[in-house]
Symmetry: C2
Subunit: 122 residues, 2 copies
């Protein structure tokens, strides 16, 4: 647990969104001007492998990172690109029951129009 990792972790913790490695890098640079992209990627990857943070994959976009490790899903707005956490209780067991097979994990990404864009729509 180096100070670089501590800082990256702190920045992710403070973030209200689901930042990308680059966004975290730019933030980190403000407090530690000569931190490198490689360090950010390496530490994010390591923490994701440990399971202390979560890496999210969205089509055609750089990966995003999530401080919330409790299993949950994500809804991405097709208009503004904002990503919202979504709680779908018992989805895992529902899937397992449907398939009749144990699953290790799953990733569910929902495409929708967020309420903010919905109200703006003409």
């Amino acid at each position: 647990m180096t100070k670089q990792q501590l800082m990256i972790r702190k920045l992710l913790e403070q973030s209200e969104t689901h930042p990308t490695a680059e966004e975290l890098y730019l933030e980190a640079k403000k407090e530690m001007p000569n931190i490198s992209m490689g360090t950010v990627y390496r530490n994010l990857g390591q923490m994701a492998d440990e399971g202390t943070i979560v890496r999210l994959h969205f089509p055609g976009q750089p990966d995003h990172y999530d401080k919330t490790i409790r299993p949950h899903d994500h809804a991405i707005c097709v208009k503004c690109g904002s990503i919202a956490d979504v709680e779908l209780d018992s989805l895992k067991s529902m899937i397992e029951k449907s398939l009749n097979v144990g699953i290790l994990s799953y990733e569910l990404n929902i495409q929708c129009v967020c309420s903010s864009c919905q109200s703006k729509a003409s």
Copy 2:
């Protein structure tokens, strides 16, 4: 609908798996030796945009393409990497009911151990 596109479509149609652009390119090259990667990518992208094929995203892997456009989900084996189609009826409406919001689409990828690897396991 050019002959290149027709061929790419045919190869995907014939495939029993969920090939990547590169795999399709290598196949296509056998019958049309001077087809280019760019053409394969462009046509796959175009067909995916039209909705006549489906583009699939898996973490840390090149995109895969699916001839089956009927909405369905995928289970990827963490041991061998094989990708299986999975039918989870009414998942969309279930999600919509849970969230109380209309959704445009979703992508669900399940991580599991396929039955083949399961039986091989020590």
